[in-house]
């Protein structure tokens, strides 16, 4: 054993967490030479519970829980537990055929019935699946049959979301709470010390090729400096969630590879379009032109290519508009646009409209993402130059949805993930629905966008989908119901010991099963 374990006391307090493991140990791994090496992953996000609807992403990322379908690096659906799938001509009945001989980690067979049971629980909870128009869930032979109330082309993406993970019936207690995570993936749970640590080992009855890494640990370190130190000290093989400031330092460390992968997440400014400040397109365009995206991306994110010229980054494929000119800061045009909307500078340099109302708004943001407050103050300074007075209010993640409901929000700066399901359409559909959305538009509807999205929900032909997607993106870009500031990247520090690391931009899996030790 590499290190001495905490004895007696720690063992006593760990006992409750270890109990399910003891039950699982009966089906243990195969014989042969035991590889003592343990892959260690350090990340900021805590294990909030065992339920797939809650902290499920950690269990899918660690290869414990699988979904019927998965996503490839471009977000396209690929077989997972289901080896193939089909949809009828009307786009309403979907059939997913399970691979033969699948086993749960407790050795029991994976039946379509068990899969349906898990999906039913997902439908009843706050998951992505619960937003899909599912009518019925049935079993037919080896197939799981999902009937929809209306065509919904991104069902495969929704099924690849962690919330749709498949657990063994033995995972649930009588009351339906998840009491042990018994999945089907290449790795099974060895121990969980919620909320900080998850240890997994290779599951030898997995359907895919035998992974090389035999054991892995997911460890939470909430403080960015602590995570950086763990990478630098060689204590971790993979460290996620590096702050821009520490990345430069880690890059100079010869023992580490720092990789930054573009992900479908954007920092955006949400505007209340019912407010007199943002109700005209000219006003929104003026704000857009006042933003120095290049400066923000360079100074605060240390990567100029993250300056967001449009809502969705290039890696989202059709959702990205290829031929847009770069967004240049243009203060004279911004001032002219504001003047055309009736705003003239007052004696203090702040704009006033014809009623004499000052252009003074509150920008609400939160500190869960440490760069947001910094961006907020940068925006405050930049907007001041065109005579817009901004107060910054820094709270927590609940503030923007709450103020949206209160209809008191004016400006909100937030970080939005467009890959809750691997197809951005899933998130765009809710965020830009006609009634608005907590993390999307506010008091804005566009019949053309609604029509395009509605058609996208049903469309299956690739050419048609591509045209509709581009159309939707173009409308969002022209109308600016939200103003993009900067795209995001996922920064990972990779230690010397491990190779064949592939970072999934949709963050569905760490792909542990594909990794190799550099030295055999």
């Amino acid at each position: 054993m590499r290190r001495r374990r905490l004895p007696a006391l720690a063992a006593a307090c760990l006992a409750p967490a270890l109990r399910p493991v003891a039950a699982q140990a009966a089906t243990g791994t195969g014989a042969g030479a035991v590889d003592e090496r343990v892959l260690r992953i350090v990340a900021p996000i805590e294990i909030g519970g065992l339920d797939p609807a809650r902290s499920g992403f950690i269990f899918t990322r660690m290869g414990v829980v699988e979904t019927l379908l998965a996503a490839d690096a471009e977000g396209r659906p690929v077989p997972a537990l289901a080896e193939r799938w089909s949809v009828d001509a009307a786009g309403l009945e979907w059939r997913f055929t399970l691979r033969p001989g699948l086993r749960f980690h407790d050795g029991s067979a994976v039946t379509p019935g068990a899969a349906v049971a898990s999906l039913r629980r997902a439908l009843a909870d706050a998951t992505a699946l619960a937003r899909a128009p599912v009518a019925t869930l049935d079993v037919a032979g080896r197939d799981v049959v999902i009937r929809l109330a209306r065509p919904f082309s991104i069902l495969p993406a929704v099924l690849a979301n962690y919330g749709s993970g498949i657990l063994a019936p033995a995972s649930y207690d009588a009351a339906g709470h998840v009491q042990a995570v018994i999945g089907t993936g290449p790795y099974r749970v060895l121990s969980i010390t919620a909320p900080m640590r998850l240890e997994v080992e290779r599951f030898d009855l997995w359907w895919g090729p035998r992974p090389e890494i035999s054991r892995a640990i997911y460890l939470v370190a909430g403080q960015g400096e602590a995570r950086a130190a763990m990478a630098e000290s060689g204590q971790a093989d993979l460290v996620f969630g590096l702050h821009p400031a520490t990345m430069a330092r880690l890059r100079r460390n010869p023992a580490l590879e720092v990789r930054a992968v573009a992900i479908p997440r954007s920092r955006i400014l949400k505007l209340n379009l019912a407010s007199p400040f943002f109700d005209s397109l000219a006003e929104r365009q003026a704000l857009d032109l006042a933003i120095d995206r290049q400066g923000i991306a360079t100074a605060l994110l240390r990567n100029p290519s993250l300056a967001a010229t449009q809502l969705l980054p290039p890696m989202t494929g059709d959702w990205h508009l290829a031929d847009l000119p770069p967004a240049e800061r243009d203060l004279p045009r911004a001032r002219a646009l504001l003047a055309s909307a009736g705003w003239t500078p007052g004696p203090d340099g702040i704009l006033r409209d014809r009623q004499g109302r000052r252009f003074r708004v509150v920008l609400t943001t939160y500190s869960t993402w440490p760069e947001l407050p910094a961006i907020a103050t940068a925006l405050q300074a930049q907007f001041r130059e065109i005579g817009v007075d901004v107060d910054v209010s820094i709270g927590n993640t609940s503030d923007i949805p709450r103020l949206h409901r209160d209809v008191t929000l004016e400006l909100g700066l937030m970080s939005r993930n467009y890959a809750l399901v691997p197809d951005p359409l899933g998130t765009i559909l809710t965020d830009f629905a006609p009634q608005g959305s907590d993390w999307g538009a506010m008091h804005w509807t566009d019949p053309q966008l609604a029509a395009a999205l509605a058609r996208l929900e049903g469309a299956t032909a690739p050419e048609e989908r591509r045209a509709l997607t581009q159309r939707a993106s173009a409308i969002l870009h022209e109308q600016r119901p939200v103003i993009p500031i900067a795209w995001s990247e996922l920064a990972v520090a990779i230690g010397r010991r491990v190779g064949h690391v592939a970072i999934d931009p949709f963050e569905t899996s760490y792909r542990l099963q594909d990794m190799r030790w550099r030295e055999p």
Partner: protein
């Protein structure tokens, strides 16, 4: 002998009463503070449960209905008190698990951390303090004073980071985080212990200096005892009495240190749980954690009381 039993029982009974009071106060204050914080509780809970990306008003509304968060606050508090009387701390609003079960593992880790840090602080602080007290006014005294002032002035967070950079990143002696073996325990407990030792060394110094100049030690020498015997038989115990008493007061500092150190090093203890529960507005978990911490302090104080009773015969005895 009955009188002697009472001598021990009396402070314990008073501590027991104190424990009850602590439970009541901590529960109510925790509840009040949680509801006084800005932000919508249902939104915070949903964000914690489902992740901030997926939370929206619908999830929050479901949360509010499921947990009955819109019931009158007084009713919610009364319910909690009623359950505490039956030794039931309720369930976490985020995970739905019983609070007691959530805390059991974390309490063990905190006990491990505190159990390591306290002796370590004694091991560091007392010898330094004793040396400073014996050579008071000379260079060991000045050196220990400067060190103690420095350690007290540096916040635990910065001290922990500095140790992390020095011992883990530069020297690679110790892992900077995690909690898998003794090696991972060293940095957090050292951070905690250094802060505590800064205080205990000063108390030990004052106490030893007072005893060294006391007529008790002088008389022990005049009796003909060697310096070693005089200090061993008459110096140490007398010097230990105030040190022990102050140690009891220091436990408050221990709680504060645990909150910071556990957060920094990602130690899955009760302090870390409290910080998270506060962010999530998980009221029962906040109440439960604060309650356990409060009881822990009372318990440790009772242990200090007992130790004082053992070494100080004046406590609880009538003068003639």
């Amino acid at each position: 002998m009955g009188g002697n039993a009472w001598r021990v029982l009396r402070p314990l009974l008073s501590r027991l009463g104190q424990a009850g009071l602590v439970a009541l106060l901590v529960g109510c204050i925790g509840f009040a503070l949680m509801h006084a914080l800005p932000g919508d509780q249902a939104f915070r809970l949903a964000a914690e449960r489902y992740g901030p990306d997926i939370v929206d008003a619908r999830a929050a509304a479901a949360m509010r209905a499921e947990l009955g968060l819109d019931r009158p606050l007084a009713l919610q508090l009364l319910e909690w008190l009623g359950r505490v009387v039956r030794l039931d701390l309720g369930r976490s609003l985020v995970t739905g698990e019983p609070v007691i079960q959530e805390l059991r593992v974390q309490l063990g880790y905190t006990a491990l951390l505190a159990g390591m840090a306290l002796p370590l602080s004694a091991l560091i602080g007392l010898p330094l303090g004793i040396a400073a007290g014996l050579w008071r006014g000379r260079w060991p005294d000045h050196a220990v004073l400067s060190l103690a002032v420095l350690l007290r002035a540096v916040p635990a967070y910065a001290l922990g980071l500095a140790l992390m950079v020095l011992l883990s990143v530069r020297l690679r002696w110790l892992p900077p985080g995690g909690f898998e073996g003794w090696a991972e325990l060293v940095l957090p407990s050292l951070t905690l212990a250094l802060g505590l030792a800064a205080v205990s060394s000063r108390v030990a110094r004052e106490s030893v200096a007072a005893v060294a100049a006391s007529p008790v030690l002088a008389f022990a020498r005049w009796k003909g005892l060697s310096e070693r015997d005089a200090v061993r038989r008459h110096g140490l115990r007398n010097a230990a009495i105030p040190v022990l008493a102050v140690l009891g007061l220091q436990l408050i500092g221990l709680v504060e240190g645990i909150l910071i150190v556990e957060t920094l090093f990602g130690w899955p203890g009760i302090g870390h749980a409290l910080v998270h529960a506060i962010f999530a507005r998980d009221v029962p978990l906040v109440q439960g954690t604060a309650l356990i911490m409060g009881l822990g302090v009372v318990l440790l104080n009772a242990a200090v009381d007992l130790a004082c009773l053992l070494i100080d015969p004046r406590r609880g005895r009538q003068a003639a």
